[in-house]
Symmetry: C2
Subunit: 295 residues, 2 copies
């Protein structure tokens, strides 16, 4: 691997470039970026060595990463597979997998594509948001492993290991269902909590002087980019709508208990929810272990 | 002030004891604690010098803090006001104010009571959870200032300043409405998000290996103590139910857009929610300034 092309020079693509360059300074990085300001900034930050049109960037590449919104990935991937050099591979880093895998199911070069999803990110976006070590110790999911060539999978796994990702394998449906609950629903709940509180604030100017760290934590994801998340929600509408329905059902039940002053039932629900503690402690420990490994 | 009595030796009461003792080592701290294990642990941790029955602890006190669940505060406060020494004051640190203020509205010793709510805490509870500096740089709300004596307010303000709290004044209704949105709703949304995801996990054993820092942040408050929160929700049922209704309304609208594939509307909602960013940056800056001041 000599030339890495990164389509989309934001948080995800930029962080990948940083860590791969740190691991092997001899690599050349080419960026593809529609937004001229982001392209210029990515060059300034030396995330990439040059920014080229897609066709040239693909022609020169050994590995191509797609780090753009998931609808753009779905549109672009067939084109890229049409023109990809024989020895190259293309890896997408998007947060949904079902529709994408379906879109290229019968493409003659499907085996040069690896469908991946590193579970990593922050609420920030753009080249400035790129972070060294973003992927260290995080989980990564590859879908439809059997549809990629052995060589493509081996190459992708080596790259993911370089940046510290732990890869597991899943089918696209299973992936999309899991992330609907574990990631996409958190984003929706946070976006709409932010909206609800902002809505009241219109009339109550000083409400936010009262907000503490608990509110900040719960609503942090409401800062996330709609450009990235609207496409994810659209592509995962089926599973996300189901998850959202269950969440609304629980909220309505709780509201009922609240209105009926049924403390016992409210207490029970909270006690059940407390079982999330060991789960979260596990996530925190994994993050701390990754941070220790990194330093 | 020589003797401080703290009723409830958990996160809130214990943290208050730690900081007041650091500021003035000559103070004597008496604890009142129903749970024998917590009482023993609080003595071991030197949060208090002794643990006494309520009557004796009140009789000896210059200042009494109530740091117990809000329903217990409401039950206990009239009794304490019946037996409080003439020069002493009692300050409650609970998260709801309407019902409590009403309960002692006509008590002959009402002027010795200060109704306060420091907006500080973590998702942990018990004596072990007590933290030095918990209150540093945080907001504190005193309700019905005019019903406390000038001396009581002056004494309370001095104490709050000692632990780094910035105090503002509000009426109980205004307070309860604001915290319903800015604090209680976040807790409900987090408890029920935890419950929703745990519910799916019953069938999907490995779902949590996929959870990232975003999920952890959004669901952190689901670890909070039901013993503390069930009473808060009960006492703030009116405003919280209203806030919850608006939240559910937004979630349902979003689900509708999702099902209709109305990306534009979803995008708009997220873009609106993004306006929470400067608000959160303000909260973070305040927390950082407080941490810097402390160190």
């Amino acid at each position: 691997m000599k030339v890495v092309t990164i389509v989309g020079l934001g948080l995800i693509g930029g962080s990948m470039a940083k860590d791969l360059r740190n691991a092997d300074p001899s690599l050349t990085f080419i960026g593809v970026e529609r937004n001229p300001a982001n392209a210029a900034r990515a060059l300034e930050l030396k995330l990439v060595d040059s920014v080229l049109p897609l066709k040239d960037a693909v022609a020169a590449a050994d590995v191509i990463f797609l780090a753009i919104p998931v609808t753009a990935i779905r549109q672009l991937l067939p084109t890229i597979l049409n023109i990809i050099p024989t020895q190259a591979i293309v890896i997408d880093l998007g947060s949904t997998k079902g529709q994408l895998c379906q879109a290229v199911e019968h493409h003659p070069n499907r085996q040069q594509f690896v469908a991946a999803h590193p579970i990593a990110g922050t609420e920030n976006s753009g080249p400035e948001a790129a972070l060294e070590g973003l992927y260290q110790g995080k989980m990564n999911i590859i879908c439809e492993r059997e549809k990629s060539s052995e060589e493509a999978i081996a190459k992708a796994l080596q790259i993911f290991e370089t940046v510290g990702l732990n890869t597991i394998f899943m089918q696209p449906e299973e992936h999309d269902k899991h992330v609907a609950y574990i990631s996409h629903l958190s984003h929706v709940s946070s976006f709409l909590l932010g909206l609800t509180v902002l809505d009241v604030e219109k009339d109550e100017k000083n409400i936010f002087t009262l907000a503490g760290s608990g509110f900040a934590s719960t609503v942090r994801l409401a800062k996330s980019s709609p450009d990235m998340w609207a496409p994810i929600f659209e592509q995962n509408a089926h599973f996300l709508s189901h998850a959202l329905g269950e969440y609304i059902f629980y909220l309505q039940r709780f509201q009922q208990y609240l209105q009926n002053n049924d403390q016992e039932k409210m207490y029970e629900m909270m006690q059940q929810a407390n079982k999330i503690r060991p789960v979260l402690d596990g996530i925190t420990q994994a993050a701390e272990a990754a941070a220790a490994e990194k330093s």
